[in-house]
Amino acid sequence: MVVTGAGVVSPMGMDFTENAAGFRAGRTAFSPVTLFDVSRQRVGTAGQIDLPETGFPSRMDRGSQLAWLAAREALAAAGLSGGTMPMIVGTSAAAMPIGEDYYRAAQSPTQSRRAQLHRVETYQAQRQMVDMASLLEIDGRIRIVSNACASGANAIGQAFHLVRMGRAERVLAGGYDALCQLVFAGFDALQALSPSGIPRPFDAARDGLALGEGAGFMVVESAAAAKSRGARVIAEITGYGAATDVHHLTQPHPNGDAALITMQTACAMAGVSPEQIDYINSHGTGTPLNDVAEGNAIRRWAGDAVSSIKVSSTKSAIGHLLGGAGAVESVICLMAMEGQWLPASLMVREADPVCTFDLIREPREAPVRRTLTNSFGFGGANATLIFEKEGLP
């Protein structure tokens, strides 16, 4: 199972090249939130994308606009202009901004029925994804995964399995989410957002995450199908693990039990040991509980090799993209393998003692053949993906 095309839109940039340049340079991409009123929130910044106001179909919500841009880039990079293939998409909030508009309008007795019907229809993720597939000229079944912050990684993992089991030659897979008021206020209410607006994953004094928005997509294809059409292979997907953390709805088990399962499962599938992984793009939200759980899981998974395991969290640069996070971070892994560099956990002042691994604090050049990315969501959905550069057909 190979990746023949990838696309990404994030606060760091509007395509693969811009994002790669930004992560390689160690830039951050946070700005004041202007999409909705944050004057009564504790935090007023996020990884908000400066998205053009025109050029999108009128029915498309902001999240689907991001998804469309990234999916279009992935298809173009794969040398495809549509075709018959399943599409598997992960999202957590879907078209929530439209739902918010519906809610506000529903409180007004003068709202037109027609405008409300339009909002109801376009609020639904399946409506948006059917329209997006149509624009991309993709004919095939559509699966929408909503496993909170693991959605994007699960979508790519499910695509990997569909191809692996011979149920599809290729699949367009990815994840997306746009910033919206309900979710922003929700994370603020949970006091999960860093009051400073600067997330510091794995810092000893980290105080929360920053939200962001974006989308990542890739074309997952059988090696035979890619070869038969002469497609350029970016990387292989060699392992995927999924498990459920049943400890608490919003808190991971402190020992990272489910994360350990997914990393072990993915490695067993890929036939690799921890020391053969050159880089881990961690879930690394910057919340006190998440980073401890993940750090413990990495230590237990790597054993004696832990000190040589290179880890960073790119959420330190663009924030937590929720349903888009796992997919965007998978694309970042592809960038690292293509450019042979490692992105950093930025803004770390003093590493938390849980970091028994090699925490990458500045971007660095390094040989990168295999990467692993972790995604853990609200509700306990955990996922790990492994990408590989060597052994390509």
């Binding site: 009564r40 929130q41 504790r42 999202t91 957590s92 879907a94 918010e100 519906y102 809610y103 506000r104 529903a106 409180q107 007004s108 007795p109 003068t110 409300q116 019907l117 109801v120 229809e121 639904q124 993720a125 399946q126 059917v130 597939a133 149509s134 004919d139 095939g140 079944r141 559509i142 699966r143 929408i144 995964v145 909503s146 496993n147 909170a148 699960n154 499910q158 089991m165 008021q181 309900l182 206020a185 929700g186 994370f187 603020d188 209410a189 949970l190 006091q191 999924a242 498990a243 459920t244 049943v246 709805l249 039990d257 489910a258 399962i261 969501g377 609200f378 509700g379 306990g380 959905a381």
Partner: protein, 339 residues
Amino acid sequence: MSGKLAITGTGAVTPAGWGVAAMMEALASGETITPSLLERPCGDGILSTPVLRVPALGATTPKFGRLRRTSPISKFSAAAAMEALGEMRFAESTAGRLRVGVIFTLTNGCVNYSNRFFGEVLADPALASPILFPETVFNAPSSHLSALIGSTAPNDSLIGDASGFFTGIDLAAEWIERGDVNGCLVVAAEETDWLSAEALCLYSKAYLPAEGAGAIYLEAADGPAMLHHLPDPVSYQFHGRLTAARKMRETLAANDDGATLLVDSQSGVRRFDQPEVSAWRDWRGPRWSPKRVLGESMGAAGALQVIAAAEALKSGDYRQVVVSSVGANQQAAGILLGA
């Protein structure tokens, strides 16, 4: 789907009551359940929407800490899932001897808590409740299910129209075939709130919004309800609902021999039923339309159709059951079940 698979457990919570028996009794009667009025103040007046609610009486919500403060959708899901799983498998799962996957499909999700939380946000976000927000997330109900049965096996939530339940069965079949799980609960649920009820009635005032949950337990086994054919759904991006419904019927290739039951997705709203009516116009065999009795429960509706089909097979009255689900805005799907 290459190996043998059977539905070996069913569970339902519907406006007819808690449990599959109550649902089947209502379907046998063929009478639409009497709606209640969901009312809310709006401007100077009151907005009323007729809805079918799950009765409070006879609730079988499992006693489990995480369910105490959840939205009704999680309680419905838990009751249906426990009925489908059964006591013995529940004990095996919690003891770690049975690896049970959970797939949850939905359209709207936790609208009650979303409504309450966003209302608080608009009033003053600084005072919005941190207890409500986590329950607004689409996968909150499925998370509670895995916790309830003590399973660390994979758990996926899928958003879609009512036909999404068939996508859930497809994914469950994949997990079982690969050996990722010993068996899988596929659950679909919705809860009523003015947000979703009024939204549905914008399409047609003839819709009767409903709530509830349906659950099946799927495993590689023999049983009275075997999966004979689960075709890929026909997505709507290049096919209208009529073409998709016809293609699905053609792919299902059900034998109209008088011994095959058709369970369709007609709700009684002519404009939206038309594609399915047309696709199955010449079907002469027996036909059930559960939504005409149980109301339009949106994301949960596909599950209730499949449960009705499995129960019909268990009764021994039919040799095969074909289920057709022509979704609102995603895809047409279906399944062929047999003994």
